[in-house]
Each structure stands twice: as structure tokens, then as C-alpha cells.
């Protein structure tokens, strides 16, 4: 067959050869002529050193530093670049054993010959200074600067939480993390990990055979600087927080204080607590184990996680519900014979002036009054049945943020418990239960349980006359407009007109006249409104409870105090709340004797002493 175009093969050959020649010239330039891609014989290794960002700092609401960073150094190794070295000197500088060296090198080799592994974590600045001088004797090793958390004051450890190293599970869930990265494990460190973390960077260095850094590769053209994490300001007031922790020394319990108008958490104390420094760096694992084993459970954040009965403090809510539902008005009064008796059931009351209307009933914490109005409501024909009445009651309760997580900016908050009708159905049978069986709810006992932060939030809702803003601990993040917290305003189901008689009662609890259950809490001029409570504890002495806000008009602080096994609310919780309110509003404490009395109280060692006695 004839083929007219066979000469075109030469053009095609040229089309193939020309680009390849172009490539070969290009390769010659790249590999032989251009010095920028060449690593000379004396500097034959590139080293990528991760630049770890320092975490953002944490401040309190007034700009007081709560958390900062201290430098430490990780010793890294690249097995492929190792040369024989003086192990004895090496070990003596670092204070490690030969076995440790062999072990770690073996592990590093198994991981990768060419990638760096951590050889020794968190060397102090002091050791680092010595090591740096001699590092040239140990090719293949280099030092990686890191930062650890440092705390100017031993406060707010539960709020701040701690930072730890990522594990395999975290890396699988968040591909952004790599082995060796740190992240917040609890508290604010966890909630605001994104803001605090910053971004890693990388520096590429030229390293010669003597392990000396010869400089930045290509003048740092390929380096990426680390971005420091954003600083954050908390709503915590460091002074109040510190004072609260001081007052709770040798006690078990919790204090939560909230600014009612904003929902900002002013202090969040869980006692007993621990020194945040214990959970930093290499000693963390050991200390953590020890803290976990402590029977007083200092790692447990009682403010968010402890379930307590609401106690008599809950009567104010029952009063509000009865007003809203039209069961009573503020003048409705009942007499009190000193006990509430129906059939075989008797709820005891203390001796007080009678008959009482709502303000006085709160003032004297009259059990008879609240049992009566609670049952009147549940049995009211307008609900059709006890179940119907109960459901209306429970809806009101939930509108105060009880029985659900408040979604304050913590991940470990618990929801407490507001019982549902179904619970009683299972227990007694459907529609087989009567108001009498639920009467303990009238005085804050029974199946209802709350967390201290829920009680503080409930108090804030009362102080606001019917609304609250989701409590939160973050004021703002520096350098960002975005606000990570949802600050939703929630309206309770109680109209604001019903609050005055209840607040009048709470005012009289503290300020009288004619006696109140917490007269010890009075501070002239501060107009503290409060309510005592005694949460029945089946396992031992009752818990002392107090909720309060102040001043009466335009409230600045709402607080809940729980002191476990401390008996009556008036005994411990009320003075503590009063002292904190005074300290927060006036900046000082006028009643030194009361403060001393509280500081001297010891419910931990007393218990231990008692246990010892029993054992003897």
C-alpha cells in the first residue's frame, strides 16, 4: 500500500525529542546548576520543625490573668540521622537511664527512620540550657520548644479545666490533630479549645553533619509561622472566686454566683478543689491518679454535676406557681398549728406567728402553708385530674431551667431531675396517685433534684422577675467579632406581676421584721433577698442550702450555696452567701467574726474524726 505521508514520521520524531530535550535541560538546571535546590555536602539534611503555637491566655472579667504559659522543651530524635554518641554523658545531662535511651530509640525506629519522634518530653529550661551547649555531640537529636500552662493563683481549677496530649481516638475523630499535640480536656480549656489552640506552623532548617542548624532553608521561603491562640476573657470575678474557695475550705459543696441581668457567671466554686498546677506536664498522670483515688472526689465538679434536693428554697417557686395559677393571691392566708397532718402523714413545722400569707410563709418557711397550697393546686378541678395539675406544675418548674441542662458553656453539666407523670404512673399505677403522695415536692424534697448552677440560675430568674439569660462563663474572645456563646433570653411561665410578694418574703427572710430564717445574712444597706433550705440527706447530716440575690432592686448578683452535711440552711450556707455578696458588692467584709466563724467550720476532718471514733 502506498503511503504519501510517511515523511511525517520525522516531524513526529522531532515533536517527541524536543520536549524531552527541554526536560533534560530543565533537569540539568534544577539538579546541577541551580544552587537553591542543592544541599551542599556539609549541610545535607533538611529538618522540618513544627512550630507549636502557645495557647491563648485566660483572664477574668476585670482583666486579671488566670492562666498563662511557661516554656518547656521536647527532645526529638530522627533515627535515620543518628551517629554513635557518648551515652554516659547524654544520660547524665538528661538524668535518664541507658535502658530508657535504648527503649525510646527502639520505639522511634519502629515508628519511622526518617520522621521525628519525641524522645524525652518536657525538659525544663534549666536542663535545656545545659543540653543546648552539647547538642552538637548528638546528631539526630534536636529540641522542640513547647509551652505548658501556668497559673498565677491556685483558683478556679474546675472552671479552667486542664490541658492534655491528644490520644489515638481524638486524632481519629479530628484529623486536624497530630500525635504530640495538646488540647483542652475539661472546663473552659475544652469548651474554647478552638479559640485557645492557635495554628501550628513549620520551620524548615538546613542541618549539617554535626547536627548544627546552618540556617533557614531558602531564607524561610517555605516556612509557615505558628499563629498564637486567641486570649479569652471569662466572666469570672477572680476576687469573688478566690474568696468563695477560701470560705469553702474544709467543706464539701458548691457556690455559684451569676449576674442576673447578663447571665454571666461570677464565680463557680466546687469544694473540695485541687491545685491546677498538679495537672500540668509530666507529673499530671501520677497526680491525676492520686486525685481520682481521693474519697472526697476533688475532680468532681459539684457546681455542675452534683444532684441535690432543692430543699425549702424551692418554696419560692411553689409560691409563684400558685399565684400564677390563681390558687392563691398574696393575701390568702392559712393558719399553722406547727405541723401539717393528713391521716397518718405529718410534716412538722417550726413555731412561728400564724396565720400567714405568702410573704410571711416564705419568711418563716412554713411547711403547712406550702403543703396546703401545693395540694390545693394539684386537686383543683380545672385540671381535670391530679395528673393534669401535676403536668401544669412541672411545666412551670421546667421554665426555670430545672430538669434540663442549661447549656452553660461547659461540656460536663448534668440535667438534674424534674419527675414526669409517667414516673408516678409506673410507681403507683396510672391515675392511682393522689396529691398527698407528692406533697414532699411542696417543700423541695421527694423525687426532685437540682444542680447548684440550676439553683443559682433559678434565683437569677426570680431576681429578673421572670426571665433569665443562659448562664455563661465567657465574656469575649480577643481579636474576634464572633461570639461563640449563645446568650438566649428565656422567659419563665410566671408573669412578672407575681414576683413582688415572693421577693417581699425573701427580703423578710434576711431582714425581718419579726424574725426570719436567715437574719444572720443581713447586711444593712445591701437589701439581700434570700431563702434558706435544708436538703434532707438520707446518708448523713442534712445539707445546708441558701439562695439569694441583692440588691432587691436592680440586682447585681444571684447566688446559690450548698454545704454538704452542715445542717440548717441558716447555719452555714446563708452566712457564706451573705459574705460573698458583701465582698462582691462592697469590695470588703465588715463582719470579721462571721468570716472567722465560717473559716473555722470544718465538715471534712470532723467527719473523719467521727469515722475514726466509730472504728475504734
Amino acid at each position: 500500500m502506498k503511503d504519501h505521508f510517511s515523511d511525517r514520521k520525522y516531524i513526529i520524531m522531532a515533536m517527541i525529542v524536543l520536549p524531552v530535550i527541554f526536560f533534560i535541560v530543565r533537569l540539568f538546571i534544577l539538579q546541577v546548576m541551580d544552587p537553591s535546590y542543592k544541599l551542599s555536602a556539609s549541610s545535607n539534611v533538611l529538618r522540618n520543625v513544627t512550630q507549636y503555637p502557645s495557647r491563648g491566655l485566660i483572664y477574668d472579667r476585670n482583666g486579671k490573668l488566670l492562666v498563662y504559659n511557661q516554656p518547656v522543651y521536647d527532645l526529638m530524635v530522627i533515627p535515620g540521622q543518628l551517629a554513635p554518641f557518648d551515652t554516659t554523658e547524654f544520660c547524665s545531662i538528661l538524668g535518664i537511664t541507658r535502658e530508657y535511651v535504648d527503649n525510646e530509640l527502639q520505639k522511634a525506629r519502629e515508628y519511622s527512620r526518617f520522621r521525628s519522634s519525641v524522645f524525652l518530653k518536657q525538659i525544663s529550661s534549666l536542663t535545656y540550657a545545659v543540653l543546648q551547649e552539647k547538642l552538637f555531640k548528638f546528631p539526630g537529636f534536636y529540641v522542640q520548644p513547647r509551652t505548658l500552662r501556668k497559673y498565677p493563683k491556685d483558683i478556679a481549677s474546675h472552671v479552667l479545666g486542664y490541658v492534655g496530649e491528644v490520644d489515638r481516638r481524638i486524632i481519629q475523630e479530628n484529623p486536624g490533630y497530630a500525635m504530640g499535640d495538646y488540647l483542652g480536656i475539661t472546663g473552659v480549656e475544652k469548651t474554647y479549645e478552638e479559640e485557645l489552640r492557635g495554628e501550628k506552623g513549620v520551620n524548615i532548617f538546613l542541618v549539617d553533619v554535626h547536627n548544627r542548624i546552618m540556617g533557614s532553608y531558602q531564607d524561610g521561603k517555605f516556612d509557615v509561622p505558628a499563629t498564637v491562640g486567641n486570649d479569652i476573657n471569662l466572666s469570672i470575678d477572680a476576687v469573688t472566686q478566690e474568696y468563695g474557695e477560701k470560705l469553702m475550705r474544709n467543706k464539701i459543696g458548691s457556690i455559684v454566683a451569676i449576674e442576673p441581668a447578663t447571665g454571666e457567671i461570677l464565680s463557680l466554686v466546687s469544694a473540695p478543689s485541687y491545685d491546677p498546677e498538679l495537672l500540668v506536664g509530666r507529673p499530671r498522670t501520677g497526680n491525676f491518679r492520686q486525685l481520682s483515688a481521693d474519697t472526697l472526689n476533688p475532680l468532681f465538679n459539684r457546681a455542675l454535676m452534683a444532684h441535690y434536693p432543692a430543699g425549702s428554697a424551692f418554696k419560692v417557686i411553689n409560691g409563684l406557681i400558685a399565684l400564677q395559677e390563681g390558687i392563691i393571691n398574696e393575701h390568702t392566708n392559712y393558719t399553722c398549728p406547727g405541723h401539717y397532718t393528713v391521716g397518718r402523714l405529718t410534716v412538722r413545722c417550726r413555731h412561728h406567728i400564724a396565720p400567714v400569707a405568702l410573704p410571711a410563709a416564705i419568711q418563716y418557711s412554713c411547711n403547712t402553708y406550702f403543703c396546703t397550697i401545693f395540694r390545693d393546686m394539684l386537686d383543683h378541678p380545672k385540671y381535670g385530674s391530679v395528673t393534669g395539675g401535676f403536668n401544669v406544675w412541672a411545666d412551670h418548674i421546667r421554665s426555670f431551667g430545672l430538669g434540663e441542662r442549661l447549656n452553660a458553656d461547659f461540656t460536663n453539666e448534668l440535667r438534674g431531675n424534674v419527675p414526669v407523670a409517667g414516673y408516678y404512673d409506673r410507681f403507683y399505677g396510672e391515675n392511682r396517685w393522689r396529691s398527698l403522695q407528692l406533697v414532699s415536692l411542696a417543700i423541695g424534697q421527694g423525687e426532685l433534684s437540682v444542680t447548684p448552677i440550676q439553683m443559682a440560675n433559678m434565683t437569677a430568674a426570680i431576681a429578673n422577675r421572670g426571665s433569665y439569660i443562659t448562664p455563661h462563663i465567657l465574656k469575649n474572645v480577643e481579636n474576634t467579632d464572633a461570639n461563640p456563646v449563645s446568650r438566649t433570653k428565656h422567659e419563665t411561665t410566671i408573669d412578672s406581676v407575681w414576683f413582688e410578694p415572693v421577693i417581699e418574703g425573701m427580703y423578710r427572710v434576711v431582714n425581718g421584721p419579726d424574725g426570719g430564717t436567715a437574719r444572720l445574712a443581713e447586711v444593712p444597706g445591701l437589701e439581700i433577698c434570700g431563702k434558706t433550705g435544708t436538703a434532707e440527706n438520707p446518708h448523713g447530716d442534712d445539707h445546708s442550702v441558701f439562695i439569694a440575690f441583692a440588691p432587691r432592686e436592680d440586682p447585681q448578683i444571684a447566688i446559690s450555696v450548698y454545704v454538704e452535711n452542715a445542717g440548717f440552711g441558716s447555719a452555714m450556707a446563708a452566712p457564706i452567701a451573705s459574705l460573698i455578696i458583701e465582698k462582691y458588692l462592697t469590695g470588703s467584709v465588715s463582719r470579721k467574726w462571721l468570716e472567722d466563724h465560717i473559716l473555722a467550720a470544718d465538715f471534712i476532718n470532723r467527719e473523719i474524726a467521727e469515722t475514726d471514733e466509730q472504728e475504734n
Binding site: 500500500m1 503511503d3 504519501h4 505521508f5 510517511s6 511525517r8 514520521k9 516531524i11 513526529i12 520524531m13 515533536m15 517527541i16 525529542v17 520536549p19 524531552v20 526536560f23 533534560i24 530543565r26 533537569l27 540539568f28 534544577l30 539538579q31 546541577v32 541551580d34 537553591s36 535546590y37 542543592k38 544541599l39 539534611v45 533538611l46 522540618n48 533515627p79 535515620g80 525506629r109 519502629e110 519511622s112 527512620r113 526518617f114 520522621r115 521561603k221 517555605f222 516556612d223 509557615v224
Partner: protein
Amino acid sequence: MSRKINLWSNLDWLTVMVYLMFLIIGWVSIYSSVYDDAHQSIFDTSRRYGKQLIWIIAALFIAAAVLMTDNKLFLFFSYFFYAFTIILLIAVLFFGTEVNASKSWFHFGGIQIQPAEFAKLATALALAQYLSTTKLKLHDRRALLSLALIIFFPVILILLQPDVGSSLVFFSFILVLYREGLSGYWILFFMLLGVLSVLALIINEINMLALLLLSSFAAIVFILRNFKVITKGTLIFIGVSASVMGIYRLFSPQTLLEVQLILTSVTASLVVLIISYLSRIKHVPIVLGFLIAAIIYTYSVDFVFDNMLMPHQKSRINIVLGFDDDPMGQSYNINQSKIAIGSGGLTGKGFLQGTQTKFNFVPEQSTDFIFCTIGEEWGFAGSSLLLALFVFFLMRLIYLAERQRSPFARIFGYCTIAVFFTHLVVNIGMTIGVVPVIGIPLPFISYGGSSMWAFTLMLFIFLRFDAGRMEFLR
């Protein structure tokens, strides 16, 4: 019996030897690129080099099977095979596994098949069949249309996956058509298109417009050399431009300036074109026609680039054109690749001594960027030797293609050459940063079974034709 002995002695063993060398170079380079102390055996099948050995052995079986087959079979089934591949390409759009946002792979248990790799072979067979059986002339419009259909049908299906890299390879078949008599102007035309596209992206629209207008003006001045006519034409051009611009200013001043200018110059050129055509002035209408086409084309390139490409494709093009300087993004990969190759020096760091290609600095270091490992460990000497070997291989294939007596075998041979050549140029060009990062493998060297088998099939079908070239006469 005698036929088999014939086949054995007629097989081009030189090509087979080079083929085997490629396979071994690839296998060893993959070993080196993913080497670590924990898995030292090159036969460890849990590692990529172990798997590559399995692909290689399978490829050798495929090669042997092809050589045993009667080559009339390929002739007979070429259209059938083409149709079958088209069905696979459609099926993969529905049943394929999505990897990196494109559906290009079938997964059968542990085996992955990429139909686009086999589509190259099928298209080559169909093309050879069509070109050799019809007594067509390549300037016949209907023949060109059919050829374009054969080539671009799979291209469109592959673009739908989307896999831009694989689809580009099909354009290389134009080289085959050129060899078979397609006008050389087509090659020039495609080259011009390429240059225009690059210019359109590098230069901003207004400068591009000025450049096109000036060069056409220069061309017309050069052709006409008649001062009077030129002045007249220029005045008409300016007049029309001014009035179109005026209309814009009056009625729609908010239109983008670029759009105004482009539409103005297109209108003005069109008016001058019509006038010059009616006045029977030679060549000028053609130049102006080209001008209008070029303006529209450059504008549509910008439009496609801005509105239709995916972000990663844009950034790849930007890097090669020298726009993007994001050190951790796409250009980071190319830089790492260049550093790795550049650090190899004249003679390289030696086998397994490379450092850059082992830190995962270089992406896809055993597949698309395998040339980095070779460049780093064997230096300029090794990498240019490999390129020389490829040139030798392609020259040898041209020699074999030219000695075929059947047009089918020759055309198929040139298809093979075109595919290998494109893969070579794009792959190496990308690792040394002169071509955008288009993920296509280096034939026989890169890790992966699908591409290796497809390349082996192509090569050995051609070698089978070559070995049996005498049979065809009978």
C-alpha cells in the same frame, strides 16, 4: 507449529527488554519511595512495592496471553471493545466509588479498575479500524466528524467523572491523524489555541485585547502596504468603535469596562470585515475573522476559568502560570517535588538514601510523583538516562509502526506512541513544575495495576501485530 516459532523469533525483543527495564525501575523506585525499617522485604505484599510486584506478574501474564492470541481477533472486535468501554464509562458514573470528588474507579473486592485507562486502548483500536477500513480522505468533512466523535465521546464521559487528566490524553490522537494525512494546519491550530489560552489567563483582558488588535493591525499593514486604504479602514474602525462606546455610555454605563471594550472591538472589526469583503480586498477579511474568533475565544477561556473550573484545578493552573504563592497549598507540592529532584544533584543520593521523598513531603510519591524518587536518588545522571530510555523506546515504536504493512497496525502503533508520549510529557512536566498538576501516571513506572495493565495491553497488542506482520500479506 511453525507459526508459533515464527512469532517467537519475529517478536521485537528489544522493545520487550526496554519494557521489562521500565517495570523493574518502577518497582525498585516504589520500594525506595515508601521504604521503612519495619518492612524491609521488597516482596512484602502489605506494602505498595509488594503489591506492585503482583501487578507486574499479572501484567506479564496479560502480555503472554496477548501474544498467544490471533491478532485478527483485535481487528474483529475493535468496535465491540470500544462500545463495551463506553458502557463501562457510563456505568462508572453511576456505580463507581467516589475518590477525591470524582467517580473514576470500580471497586471489586480488593481490586480497583479505572475504565478511563482502558478507554484509551479501546479508542485506539476503534480509530485504527475506522481509519484503515474506509477509503476516506482526511479532509473530508464527514470523515473528520466521525473521527471527532470516536475520540471525543469517551472524553466527554471522562470529563463527567470528572477526570481532566485522563481526558486530556485523548487529544494526543490528533498526532496520529496528522501522521495519516490530516492537514498540518490542525496541529498549528491546536497549538495556537493553547498559546492563546495561556495568554488569556496570564494577561488581563484589556491588555489581551490591545495585543490582539495591534497584531492584527500590524498583519494588515504588512499585507496591504497601501496607506490610503489602511487609513480609510482605520477611520471606519475608530468611527464604529466610538459610536458603539457612545451607545454604551448612554444606555448602560454600568456594564463592565472589559465587556464594553470587547463588544465594541468585535462590532467594529465585523463592520470593517464586511466592508473589506464587499470591496474585494484580499486577506484582510481572513485576518479580521481570526481577530474576532480570537477575542471571543480568549474571553471564553477567562469565563470558563473563572466560572466553570473547580478551585483545585484553578490553583493548579495558577501555580504553573506563576500566580499562586501559597507555600502550603498546591505550589507547596510542586516546590517539594522540585526540592526533592533538585537535591539529587548530578549523581543522586543513592538507592534508599533519599530523604525528601520519604517524609511525605512529596505527595503521591509512589504514583504520580514517582519521578521525584528517581531524581533524588539517582540524580541528573539517572533521571536523564530514564528520559533517554523513554525516547529510545518511542523511537523504536515509530520504527516498528513504520515497518507495518497494514494501515491498521501502523495507526494502532502510532496511537500507542501518542498515549505513551503524552503521559511522559505531562507526568515529568508536572513533577518539574512546567505543566499543571494533572494526575496521570508515568507509564510502567508509577504504582498502580489498572494503568500498568492498560499500557501493557496496548504495547503487546501492537507487538503482536508487529510479530505477525508477515501473516497479513497472505
